[in-house]
């Protein structure tokens, strides 16, 4: 994930669709419930996880998120889970599934399961942030009694994130201009002094921000406007999502479908 795609994701959060208008608390809780249920499936489950893909899909379709964005971002994520999972086929070589004489070991099945989990959890998080602006997520968390100091911290971080990244990119550009095309990367010592300069600029910026806040009557307490209403739509959304996921977790729908399809063949 680059800073560029993070900004794109941020802009998507300010859209106006029925999904965007849902209460941020409802969306956060539903996402968390969804991820918990996905993660609770046994290690060797692959097929039962597939119908759960409907949740992020519905979120993205109704939230009008361009599918290309989602696909590219999901694939571009640094794949720690994939790196760890790829070892499963090496250590778990008991044959598990046989199709037409071809036997597949348990390791490959559990690796496939990790991949499916990875795609589901990542796309659920992506669907949340692409349909909810970060300030609204923070408002929701504030209403859920997350400590105020932490909420204020996240709002400030969000406010200055892109500003400071641009500051860093300016530093980097200045340095690139002065190395006359030499392709070597930064030595740690040069990087450290760039970071030091960046820190001092950041520090001074914080001082200016503080003075500006004082000029506007800042007394140490940050007040947040609270304009959230948890309506029946939101309640229905949370209960519907969690109930549907729980049913898919408890009832072997895919198995039934498979037997039906098999008898039909």
């Amino acid at each position: 994930m680059t800073i560029h795609s993070a900004r794109l994701l941020d802009q998507l959060g300010y859209g106006e669709t029925p999904i965007h208008r849902l209460d941020p608390r409802a969306k956060t809780l539903a996402t968390l419930g969804f991820i918990l249920i996905v993660v609770s499936f046994p290690k060797y489950d692959v097929a039962p996880l597939i119908p759960l893909a409907l949740y992020p899909l519905a979120f993205m379709i109704l939230g009008q998120i361009p599918p290309g964005v989602i696909l590219k971002r999901t694939l571009a994520v640094s794949p720690f889970a994939v790196l760890v999972g790829i070892f499963n086929p090496l250590f778990d070589t008991e044959p598990m599934v046989r199709i037409a004489g071809l036997s597949i070991s348990g390791g490959w099945v559990s690796f496939a399961s990790i991949l499916v989990r990875f795609v589901l959890t990542i796309s659920a998080a992506l669907a949340l942030v692409a349909t909810t602006s970060f300030p609204r997520i923070c408002q929701g968390l504030d209403a859920l009694k997350v400590p105020r100091a932490f909420i204020v911290q996240m709002l400030f971080l969000y406010r200055y994130l892109f500003v400071l990244v641009e500051e860093a990119l300016r530093l980097r550009r200045a340095r690139d201009l002065r190395r006359f095309g030499r392709r070597r990367g930064l030595r740690p010592r040069v990087a450290a002094s760039l970071i030091g300069v960046l820190f001092l600029r950041t520090y001074e910026r914080a001082e200016r921000v503080y003075l500006a806040m004082c000029a506007r009557g800042f007394d140490g307490h940050v007040r947040l406007a609270r304009r959230l209403r948890f309506g029946w739509r939101d309640a229905a959304f949370v209960t519907g999502t969690v109930a549907a996921c729980l049913i898919l977790r408890l009832v072997p729908v895919v198995h039934w479908l498979g037997r039906w399809g098999e008898s039909w063949l």
Binding site: L12, T31, V39, A47, L57, G85, P95, R117, Y158, Y160
Partner: protein, 356 residues
Amino acid sequence: MHMADALLSPTVGGGFIAASGGLLAYSAWRLGREPDKRRVPLMGVLGAFVFAVMMINFTIPGTGSSGHLVGGMLLAILLGPYAAFLVIASVLVVQSLFFLDGGILALGTNIFNMGVWPCFFGLLIYRAIAGRQSRAWRLWLAAVVSVVVSLELGAVGVVLQTLLSHRTDLPFGRFLALMAGIHLPIALVEGVITATVVQYVRALRPGAVGIGERGMQAAANGAVGGDRLVPVLISFLGLAILTGGVFAQFASSHPDGLEWSLAQTQKGGTDPNAPPVPSWERVQNRLALMPNYDFPRGANEPTPAATETQSPRGPWPEVRVGTSLAGIVGAVLTLAVVCVLAGALYWIRPHRKASL
């Protein structure tokens, strides 16, 4: 270094969310007790600074690969433990949402691995080595040692959480060696850069180091080793060991809390005469498309009739080719249904241009 949702079990993920959340609430309360107005914008802007630092890539000597500063220890040294912990936690939240590093459920583990060790443990080491009016070499040594220790502890945390979740088959020893080995050079470079930055800042802006604790009743004045930190740390370590032990117990006897509780409820529901273990296995079989471990292991394919008659347990017969075929047919059919439903949703949604 970021733990991912896909590798976690609900028990481990939830447990660490509780642990990190508790510590977060404690840190927020500690900061709120001494409201230093200046600190509010500084902490926020420094959180953004961490992202800016990631734009400055440097080459790691000897390997030719490039990396960037993670900055946990740097924040701890510059801000003090509680403020730095809040900043790191906020950075991880934004990373999990906008940069998709880690995941939402994995936030607890990530805050624990990358926040707790530098802010509470690493800082203790740093202060013990660096002392008050430290000379340059002591500062360097302190920074490098504390960064290496806290990063390696974080790596060990990732290994333990992964293994407790039972989603991978990596053996403990090899996984640990792999993670510790990968993180050692990274930690050394991070330590050197942290030391250089701290020295640089101290030379140009002596007031900026330890700013987060300025309001904390001159605690920094006398305290070399952070006297107040020790009881917190000890009680916290005790808590961690306790929860770790409980997790391990729980994880070994029942692979996963949710599965276990499901089994409990189902056991109550189905016929009471059945002995507990077969009932549990029946539940497993019903929940899992490809139930664990009891597949014909490389033996000749038994005839369907034989399996049917010998089937030792309840409604679902022993897995054989037919059943795994059923599984795959089911998966394909489900995929088709999902696609059809998604297409239907696409058609019925209000067709308007997304307003950016």
